[in-house]
């Protein structure tokens, strides 16, 4: 748990990245073999994502339970780490989309017969690219919500209304 409080294990590699990494080999295979290989990659990616999502959910549930029971936990490092994963997933998606467009253009010249299959499966994989970011975001928000409820900060400044409420203070001066 101590390690989980600082950083969760890294999420699985994005499916689109895996596919883009193997386009060179796939371009030489038969179209039906290409489809089978790509769909297998997507299936493996889905399974890896599901087990990662399960781990994250368990960690978050346990931490929320601990906070509810009154434990004092510093969630900042974990929240920061989830935010970093979210940023990194968004960057990775942008990079994959850019790379996909370049690679598909190149593929259209060299092996146009496989372009349709690869394009279809790649679009399918790119559509899954947001899920790691969405999962990290939801986990982060749950932790932030639990922290704000179970570990409220001390009220400071007029923003919180007390005890340094400037309006109320000025009224007391007459």
């Amino acid at each position: 748990m101590a390690h989980a409080l600082n950083k969760l294990p890294s999420p699985p590699r994005a499916v689109a990245e895996e596919i883009l990494g193997s386009l060179g080999v796939l371009a030489k295979a038969e179209p039906h073999a290409v489809r089978a290989a790509l769909e297998l990659t997507i299936e493996k990616g889905d399974a890896a994502f599901a087990s990662y999502a399960e781990i994250v959910e368990k960690v978050v549930n346990d931490l929320v339970g601990l906070l509810a029971s009154g434990a004092q936990i510093d969630l900042d490092p974990l929240i920061e780490s989830l935010l970093e994963e979210e940023r990194s997933a968004a960057r990775s998606k942008r990079e994959s989309e850019r790379r996909a467009s370049v690679d598909l253009r190149r593929l259209a010249k060299s092996t146009p017969d496989k372009l349709a299959v690869i394009n279809e499966v790649l679009q399918n994989a790119l559509a899954r690219a947001d899920r790691v970011a969405a999962m990290c975001r939801d986990a982060r928000w749950r932790l932030m919500e639990a922290r704000s409820y179970y570990q409220p900060g001390k009220p400071v400044g007029p923003m919180r209304g007390e005890p340094w409420d400037a309006d109320e203070y000025l009224k007391t001066l007459g």
């Binding site: 749950r142 704000s148 409220p152």
Partner: protein, 93 residues
């Protein structure tokens, strides 16, 4: 990215702001839907509300109050109100 819906209450509140503040609020809303929202927006749950109400900078002295809700697509934020710091006084848990 967080989905945002502007409430009627917000539409009325925003009309009370100066033109500059209104433009600034619009820019901040545009940034809020980025994935993830930039850290300097200070988008966070309001204390004591158990995630029902969220707060966020709206430019200058103004703050947004957002209400987390659900529909058939998933979670979204209803932009409930906008106003200067004092706005927090209206939302005590």
């Amino acid at each position: 990215m967080p989905r945002l819906v502007l409430s009627d209450k917000y539409q009325k509140a925003v009309r009370r702001l100066t033109v500059d503040d209104r433009m600034r609020a619009k820019r901040y809303l545009d940034r809020l839907v980025q994935s993830p929202p930039p850290g300097n927006l200070n988008f966070k749950p309001m204390e004591g509300w158990n995630g029902v109400l969220w707060e966020c900078r709206a430019g200058g002295q103004n703050r947004f109050i957002l209400r987390r809700q659900k529909d058939e697509v998933g979670d979204y934020f209803l932009v409930d109100d906008i106003g200067p710091h004092d706005i927090y006084k209206k939302y005590k848990p």
